[in-house]
């Protein structure tokens, strides 16, 4: 049973509906089967689309013959790479994808051709009739392969190392920092790739209205309708104004539906070619190939310490296995080095990162995007350092915490930071001091912390435009409709929007109508990624609602003769705060405002303050605020079998302010769940470049039976820039749980598994090595040789340039 520091029904101080626990406005539609997801859409004359995928890991396409497929009765359209030759990619610096492979294939499962047919069976038959001649190339299957100079380049001609992105940064005098250290430590870690496994398989439907209007509509289970809109315009060479993208409610995303995908582009083109609606729904196996999940990352962390347990320097080196395409990779690479510094005061810091391409499904953003891997490494490393220095793992963290309202060495602006309180809460609640090192053999506790962005400070393509806009329309009858391009992926953005608007207007969330995620109907929101929606769309919604309230107040003030500053909106009324009898109900107030303040239309916008530091790569990491989390995990580890049974998780999260407590706790518990899966079982496992486990049965994830009880604690630091003080909760709580599991295993049985997933075989192997007097550890022993080049040297930030926010 999830518990909190406050009773569930207590609203946040000074608010009526913000801080409450009312059911999400979309909950009942979801529980009755009414919610229409992308695959639930059925249009008259609709065709079914299917993709032919590469059977090879790496190869040249010598010839494609679609004549037999095209001739099959019931087949209405067939596409190959030549039909969609324009490259695209989510990031401007990584425009390296074709909707269908052109000239070469880069991974087993890459789309090569597409068909649209009268039904699924006919479409499948058509795929079997497409003849493709390949010439296989030597595959690149791992980071080690990618570092070899003699394998064929995946992106380019000839042979060489598969370097996709490289970044080397040095902040302050790192050599000096290590010289000042009494002790220096170094560890290697590996984080295996894993995938989102959303329950909903990706789906898209496209419809074309013929020329002269020539308008395309695409419904898709996407987290990023705006970026899909841009991609379709580019690849199809259509003016954006002729394309309407509607993101349908997303049946689980976790980052896996944040790229533009082949099936979306192919659905659109096939609808244009055939003149009929076309639907693509990926099979579960195809979802594993579409991927964009957690990068496998090999890491080296070096730190310098004073005897008193004070950090003097950190050098962090990463190698990311990116799979076959760029995707979000340039950002992912920098994220493996960006946020180490926002939890601890790192006085001097060096980061070296490289992302390589391999012949595997492309990696991208999964919950925590690029930060769970280094967080795992750093928090396990700290545990080892603490043990060596004879300091409690909780205390070594408390001793090195970053201060609220400070700048990190790599120019991240920290505002509110409740990390100290989070640590103290889980320390006390878990009985840490009575348990650590004192539980019977086979039982242990571990601690770790983490931090995450409340929205990437910069948009994916650099521009100075709003990152989110919200419109509000009030009907003459009093109905309020909110318009936002934000898409609910289960994180609760719909309910967040109606809650903050209801709070400002003195209404209830269920009174507010909502139109979302439609590029024709709703103003911009960049998408549901980087935990940005509450902070950015929430602020825009608050501003739009305040402007609407101002209009209604002006009208009511004129009508009743009450000064505007005395008016209050609450419980469906507008009234004089000094004399609540004087006032009127919302519908009457709206009727007056419709006369005195037309039109009852308002809008709000949000753009993050300028936060990026003065260096290349500084665009990754800055955020208008950071959430903070601390966690303690207690588990049992069977030394015979290596099986780990997590029994309880304590987790405290600095949420700023909970907009809805049930939703916030749901995100925390869901993050704990996903973290436990990654820590113990989940891996995108390959054999010679072929994915071994592209099914739900083989890709093992936790069920009800593996999920422990979780005690959650909310820390409310009231962020000065967040809507009602709110920060993010969708991703941050995942971060500390994975290293806390690894650290608890060490406490339980005295071995280190410096590699996730921590499967039973690795635990047993480490225990066997310990019994043989060898190093009681399983994990990487070396990193491939690689020259990261000279670092860009960055001066420490000037504290005077802190920005607009002043500590309260």
């Amino acid at each position: 049973m999830a518990v909190t520091t406050e009773p569930r029904q207590a609203p946040a101080q000074g608010t009526v509906v913000v801080g409450g626990s009312d059911p999400k406005i979309d909950a009942h539609a979801k529980a009755t089967g009414q919610t229409v997801y992308a695959d639930d859409i059925h249009l008259p004359r609709m065709l079914i689309g299917r993709l032919l995928r590469s059977p090879h890991r790496h190869g040249m396409i010598l010839n494609i013959d679609v004549s037999r497929a095209s001739a099959l009765p019931g087949v209405h359209g067939v596409l190959t790479g030549a039909d969609l030759p324009i490259r695209y990619g989510i990031m401007p610096v990584a425009q390296d994808e074709h909707a269908l492979a052109l000239e070469k294939v880069r991974y087993h499962g890459e789309p090569v051709a597409a068909v649209a047919a009268i039904d699924e069976e006919t479409a499948e038959e058509a795929l079997r009739l497409i003849e493709v001649e390949y010439q296989e190339l030597a595959p690149v299957s791992s980071i080690e392969d990618a570092m070899k100079p003699d394998l064929p380049l995946i992106d380019g001609e000839g042979t060489g190392r598969q370097v996709n992105r490289l970044g080397t940064l040095e902040f302050g005098d790192v050599a000096g920092g290590f010289e000042r250290a009494d002790r220096t430590y170094e560890d290697l870690f590996f984080f295996e790739g894993n995938t989102h496994l959303p329950m909903e398989e990706h789906a898209a439907v496209a419809q074309w209205e013929p020329e002269p209007r020539g308008r395309l509509t695409v419904w898709s289970s996407t987290q990023v309708p705006h970026y899909l809109h841009r991609t379709l315009a580019k690849v199809l060479e259509l003016a954006p104004g002729r394309i309407r993208v509607i993101a349908t409610p997303v049946g689980g995303g976790f980052g896996g539906k944040s790229d533009p995908f082949s099936h979306e582009v192919c659905a659109a083109r096939l609808a244009m070619v055939t003149g009929r609606p076309v639907k693509f729904t990926l099979t579960r196996e195809e979802v594993f190939y579409a991927h964009r999940g957690r990068h496998p990352v090999l890491m080296r962390v070096r730190t310098g310490w004073g005897e008193d347990g004070t950090l003097t320097a950190m050098a962090f080196r990463t190698m990311l296995d990116g799979g076959a395409f760029g995707s979000y990779g340039p950002a992912s690479m920098y994220y493996t080095g960006a946020l180490q510094t926002v939890t601890y005061d790192v006085p001097t810091y060096k980061f070296e990162g490289v992302r390589v391409l391999t012949n595997k499904p492309p990696c991208g953003p999964k919950r925590g995007h690029g930060t769970p891997q280094p967080r795992f490494a750093l928090e396990c490393h700290l545990d080892k350092v603490a043990a060596d220095l004879g300091i409690d793992p909780v205390d070594i963290r408390l001793r090195n915490l970053i201060e609220p309202y400070s700048m990190s060495i790599n120019h991240m602006r920290i505002t509110t930071c409740g990390l100290r309180e989070c640590i103290e809460l889980v320390d006390a609640a878990s009985g840490w001091r009575e348990k650590r090192g004192k539980l019977p053999y086979g039982r242990g506790v571990g601690v770790a912390v983490g931090s995450y962005l409340c929205g990437a400070g910069l948009p994916i393509y650099f521009n100075d435009m709003s990152q989110s806009e919200v419109q509000i329309k009030v009907d003459r009858g009093g109905g309020v409709t909110v318009y936002s391009m934000a898409i609910d992926i289960g994180q609760g953005s719909d309910h967040m929007l109606v809650t903050v608007v209801a709070e400002v207007l003195g209404l209830r969330p269920r009174d507010i109508a909502l139109v979302t995620a439609d590029t024709d109907l709703t103003p911009i929101d960049l998408g549901s990624y980087s935990s940005r929606v509450t902070f950015m769309a929430g602020n825009a919604a608050v501003q739009a609602a305040e402007r609407m309230r101002d209009k209604v107040f002006a009208a009511v003030s004129a009508d009743l003769g009450v000064p505007i500053e005395k008016l209050v909106a609450r419980d469906g009324r507008i009234f004089d705060g000094d004399d609540p009898q004087v006032g009127m109900g919302w519908p009457a107030a709206v009727a007056v405002a419709s006369v005195l303040q037309p039109p009852l239309l308002t809008a709000g916008a949000y753009k993050a303050p300028k936060l990026a530091g003065p260096y290349k790569g500084a665009g990754v990491g800055p955020s208008p605020a950071y959430s903070y989390t601390a966690s303690v995990v207690e588990l049992e580890c069977d030394p015979e079998t290596g099986v780990v049974d997590v029994e309880r998780v304590w987790i405290a999260h600095d949420i700023g302010k909970a907009i809805n407590r049930v939703s916030v706790e749901g995100q925390i518990v869901g993050s704990v769940y996903m973290a436990l899966g990654e820590a113990l079982f989940e891996e995108q496992a390959f054999r010679r470049g072929y994915l071994k486990n592209p099914s739900i049965l083989e890709y093992r994830s936790p069920t009800f039976l593996e999920m422990p009880e979780v005690e959650t604690f909310l820390v409310e630091t009231d962020d000065p820039e967040g809507p009602f003080g709110a920060k993010e909760v969708g991703q941050g709580p995942l971060l500390p749980v994975i290293p806390a599991v690894a650290n608890a295993i060490y406490d339980a049985v005295g071995v280190r598994v410096d590699e996730v997933p921590i499967s039973p075989d690795k635990v047993v192997k480490a225990l066997q090595q310990k019994a043989q007097g060898k190093e009681p550890r399983v994990g990487p022993k070396t990193m491939p040789e690689f020259d990261y080049g000279e670092p860009i040297k960055v001066d420490p930030p000037d504290q005077l340039q802190f920005g607009e926010v002043v500590a309260p």
Binding site: A2, Y37, D40, M199, V250, G670, Y673, M707
Partner: protein, 164 residues
């Protein structure tokens, strides 16, 4: 006309108390027929291999993966889907509780989860937390971490007992 289609067969299905007469391909699963022929898209799919539990429906009160059931096999049985859970305009206690505890985030697993939970409560009105976990272990959810679902089933069970 699709070359690969086998000739269709007329089936009579009782779905949520409604009589359906549908011309279907005999190779189609109950999941396909529910979604594509009866247009009851409340029932979801996540694997079509019996691994995720999303497509769970009740067949004569027993939870069943509709992706592993041929539609023609379901003739003569009472089929119950998520669309048949609410009574008229009133939500089923499980649906109500799912909203209150936050048991639906993305909501994609909810239809199958609700049907498994309903089957549990029909045979055991007072399940323990462990009994709930065991009964629902074949239904995967990626969002909630399951605890809110257990809370919802407990809450609904308590209300259904006190109403009974």
């Amino acid at each position: 006309m699709a070359v690969t289609s086998t000739s269709k067969q007329l089936v009579a299905l009782n779905i949520n108390g409604d009589a359906y007469e549908l011309a279907i391909s005999p190779t189609h699963t109950l999941l396909e027929v529910l979604r594509e022929d009866a247009r009851l898209t409340g029932t979801k799919h996540g694997c079509e291999q019996g691994e995720c539990g999303l497509c769970t429906i009740l067949l004569d009160g027993r939870p069943q993966f509709s992706c592993l059931t041929l539609a023609i096999e379901a003739q003569g049985s009472e089929i119950r889907t998520v669309e048949g859970l609410a009574r008229g305009g009133e939500l089923h206690p499980l649906q109500q509780a799912f909203g209150e505890t936050g048991a639906s985030q993305c909501g994609y697993c909810s239809p199958g989860m609700l049907m498994s939970a309903q089957a549990l409560l029909e045979r055991n009105p007072s399940p323990s937390r462990n009994e709930i976990k065991e009964a629902l272990a074949g239904n995967l959810c990626r969002c909630t971490g399951y605890l809110a679902i257990i809370d919802a089933v407990e809450l609904a069970a308590a209300r259904m007992r006190s109403a009974a």
